[in-house]
Each structure stands twice: as structure tokens, then as C-alpha cells.
Symmetry: C2
Subunit: 278 residues, 2 copies
């Protein structure tokens, strides 16, 4: 049996009771570690679950999924995903493969940023299409996420922006030369995302194109996280919580205390660097 277990968004205890029972029952437990990272490290999870976790990176999940599934055919295997298992396409793919191979599976749902974002006070009903703000490179600077935010605005909808995460990525040079040397992990901050958005606005202005009046003021709507579960960067500059999406992340800059007050005014100036943007 293959168990796809959502871990929620905070720490080790955000797993459901059902999920924890499944994990403890399994002979092998994989922790999906490339679409998202939990606030607490692998060791904290291992200690709480009482199980050794096998880190599953993109290469492993995408290339060796069939081996993982073969194991699931003979014993209980758990595949742990931060947030909810069906946030990322990759995991739907794993299920489809399991079905093809006739391997039974169970899904154990959990909170995802797709619903937990409701804690900022904005109605979940009124969110339009979710967008991914991807890291620009020198040669690849897509603007499609901006168009989607603008479209949502025109329809009176909020936008949840998931910020890019680059884990175990190769430089173009290393990729070309087939060298398995990986770049240090990168997690987009809200400031970086905002810089890209401002650059798009600037581009369009230079081209004489119109943008939504909201974007004229130079401010973007940013909401702060109302929940704990933070991760401290090595530089201690900002806490950050990652999410379960494909190559995305939602980061937060609040301190790690759990008691909090609801967002009264969720719009903050760009410069304040608040992280979970809606």
C-alpha cells in the first residue's frame, strides 16, 4: 500500500492522527523534499514520527518512481508531502502510476496554503487563479504571472502568489556538461517577487501599455501570516515557511510565536517586506 500523507504547514505535530498512524505502520517512509520544505528539519520529523525518513528529491521521484512503487507493492510505503498531497502535479502523477501498476493507495489530506491563506482574513471564495512567481534569469523573464494577477483584479478576485523555490538545481554549465553539481537552494523572498513585478510594470509603462490602477501607486497587497511554523534563515533575517507546490513556495516574515492577532489592514507597503502576498 502507498500512503500519500499531507504534513500540513507548521511543524511535526501538524500531521493528522491518521497520517501519523500510517507513517508508523510503514516499512519505508519518503519525505518529498524538492517542492517544499517544512519549518522544522528532517531530524525533528524523524524524532516525532519515530521513523527514519528517506529524502526524496526531484530526480528520485521523477526518475525512480517505479522503484518506489514496486516497494509499495510488497510492503507499506509512505510518501510525505508538505501541505496537502495534491498541491503539486508530481504527486498526481505518482498516483496515476500506482493505479497503472495496480498498487493500492490511500491519500491522507492536510492543510495547504491554498486554504490556510484564509487566515489572513480574505475570503477563500474570492480568490481567482493562483499564480507562481518564478525566478527570472538573464535570458528568461516571463510576465505571465503578472497578466493573471491583473486579470484576477479585473474580476474583483484576490490572487495567491506562490514564490519560486530552487532546490538541487544545476547551473546551465553543469547541466550541459552532465556534472551532478548542484547550486545552493534558493527561496524567493517577497521583496524579490515584488522587484520582478515592479520591473514588469516599468517595462509596460515604457512600452506605453496600461496597467491596473492598483499598480500605479507602487504598492502591492501583502498579507502577513497568522500562523506559526516559521523557518529561520541562516542569516536570521527572516522566518520563512514553504509550501507544497510544484516549484513554488509561500514565505512569511513573522516571528515564530504562535499567538497572534488577525491582520487588521492586510495591505502593506512594498518596502515593509512582508512575505505572504495575496
Amino acid at each position: 500500500m502507498l500512503y500519500l500523507v499531507g504534513l500540513g504547514l507548521g511543524d511535526a505535530k501538524d500531521i493528522t492522527v491518521k497520517g501519523l498512524e500510517a507513517v508508523r505502520r510503514c516499512r519505508r517512509v519518503y519525505l518529498e523534499a524538492y517542492t517544499s520544505v517544512l519549518a522544522v528539519g528532517k531530524e525533528a520529523l524523524e524524532e516525532f514520527y519515530g521513523k527514519e525518513l528517506i529524502l526524496a528529491d526531484r530526480e528520485m521521484v521523477e526518475q525512480e518512481a517505479d522503484n518506489l512503487l514496486k516497494e509499495a507493492d510488497v510492503c507499506d510505503v509512505a510518501f510525505l508531502v508538505v501541505g496537502d498531497p495534491f498541491g503539486a502535479t508530481t504527486h498526481s502523477d505518482l498516483v496515476l502510476r500506482a493505479v497503472k501498476l495496480g498498487i493500492p493507495y490511500k491519500v491522507i489530506h492536510n492543510a495547504s496554503i491554498m486554504n490556510a491563506v484564509g487566515c489572513c482574513g480574505l475570503q477563500l471564495y474570492n480568490f481567482g487563479e493562483t499564480v507562481s512567481v518564478v525566478f527570472w534569469t538573464d535570458t528568461w523573464q516571463p510576465e505571465s504571472f503578472f497578466d493573471k494577477i491583473e486579470k484576477n483584479r479585473q474580476n474583483g478576485m484576490h490572487t495567491l502568489c506562490l514564490l519560486d523555490i530552487k532546490v538541487k538545481e544545476q547551473s546551465l554549465e553543469n547541466l550541459m556538461k552532465g556534472r551532478k553539481i548542484y547550486e545552493p537552494p534558493r527561496y524567493m523572498t517577497v521583496n524579490q517577487a515584488a522587484e520582478q513585478l515592479l520591473a514588469i510594470i516599468q517595462n509596460r509603462r515604457l512600452q506605453g501599455l496600461k496597467t491596473d490602477p492598483m499598480f500605479q501607486s507602487g504598492s502591492l497587497g501583502l498579507a502577513e501570516d497568522l500562523q506559526g511554523g516559521m523557518r529561520r534563515e541562516p542569516d536570521g533575517a527572516s522566518g520563512r515557511r514553504l509550501e507544497e507546490r510544484g516549484v513554488e513556495q509561500c514565505s512569511f516574515s513573522r516571528s515564530s510565536k504562535q499567538d497572534h492577532k488577525p491582520a487588521k489592514g492586510i495591505k502593506k507597503d512594498l518596502k515593509s517586506g512582508r512575505d505572504c502576498k495575496v
Copy 2:
């Protein structure tokens, strides 16, 4: 301290470990019982949590919220919500009141149908505005949910339709006469929702108005639930799982077994009466 604890969507064990610890720590535990109903009854929850639960109906939550909060000022109080606590406006309101009264609170998130719907195979990214299909009366037959579905279609987005739930509602006569006599609970089935949608299409055709080509074929996109946690109706006709939204529900007609296969073709004919509609 006031704890707002999401219970998830299935049974007693879908609570998170953190949530369960909070519930067991609290002196008083309320179970919100009017925006949604869990697959298992109150007794099953009480047995698993080891706590007596106080059923909180709409009247209680809306009229006596301040009393509930006064308790939370002197002892630990938990407020349990099926799904995630921030699905329904009511619960945001409770938090705002707590803040006003200076009462600390913690939110413990869980899966909501807003994210768990991803299990049907449709990408969560591509959902537009969520709609509520409300029970029509003889004198009130709103069509706004249809307009929103059509708008989402035009934008290439899926729509999650939450189906109405009427719990502890008074008839107009009893309401006028101030008699606290309540109607039996009603949960909209997908067939009922589809009947209303078809009636709208019919109305618009008679008026010579255009509707989306999808609606011409007489079929609607329906997806079946891929997760367990069903509730059997007294007549045994269909299993059904309810959700945490204001006056809404998402119901399912699958059997209660947990092992399942993913939806291969998620579109089903209207007549088949599959319940979780996306």
C-alpha cells in the same frame, strides 16, 4: 486561550496531533454544528478525543459568542470546525471579537474541501471563484452562482460548487410567529443542484439568451470523491460528506471504502448523480 481547531474532512482521526493535544487540554470544547457536519457523529468524536463536546448551533455562535469568549478569557476553550477554521466568515468574526476583547487565540489548520478537491485530478491552480448553490424557494430563485460558473468557464477555470445545507432552520411561519420550531435538516444533493442549474439554462433559452456551449449538451462536469469519510443518509441512498463553509456543503456519493482509484474521466453524465461537482 481560544483554540480554533480544524477537524479535516473525514473522521475523528483526521484531526492533527497538535489539534488533538489542544482539545485534550481545554476545559470546554465546542463543536460547530451548523455550517457543516462530519462523516462521523458527535459521539465518535467525543470517544476519540476523550472530551465532552458542546454542540454550537448558529444561534449559539452568533448570539452568544461573547459568553464563549468570556470563558476563553479564564480557561482554555476549543472551537472545533469541520475542515479548516477559516472556511466560513462566521469564524473570522469570532476571531475578530476575540481580538477586540483582548483574548489570545490560536488557529490549528486542517484540510478543507477548498484544497482537498485537488484529489479529483484537477489542478488547484486552475480553480476560479468558488460558488454556493443555494436551495431555491418558491419566491427566491437566485441565478448568480450560474453566472459565476459561466464566467469561470469563459476564463478557462474550474468551479468548485458548494451545495447548500439547512440545519436548524425555521419555516417562515414559525419565524414570523417567533416559534422556535425547526425544520428537519436538509442537504442539497448534486441532482438537486443540477436541476436548479438546468432550470436556469432553460429560463435563459426561453428568454433567447446565450449560455456557454458546455451547457448546451445537457451535461455538467461532475467529479467523484477520491477519499473516504462518508456519511450514510437514513434512507441509505447515498453517502455524503459535508464541508465547513457558511451555508454550504460538498456531498459525495461514493461508497465509504478508503481504497480507491483516481478519477480517470471526471466528467460524468448528470443522470449518474455523482456528487462532488467541480
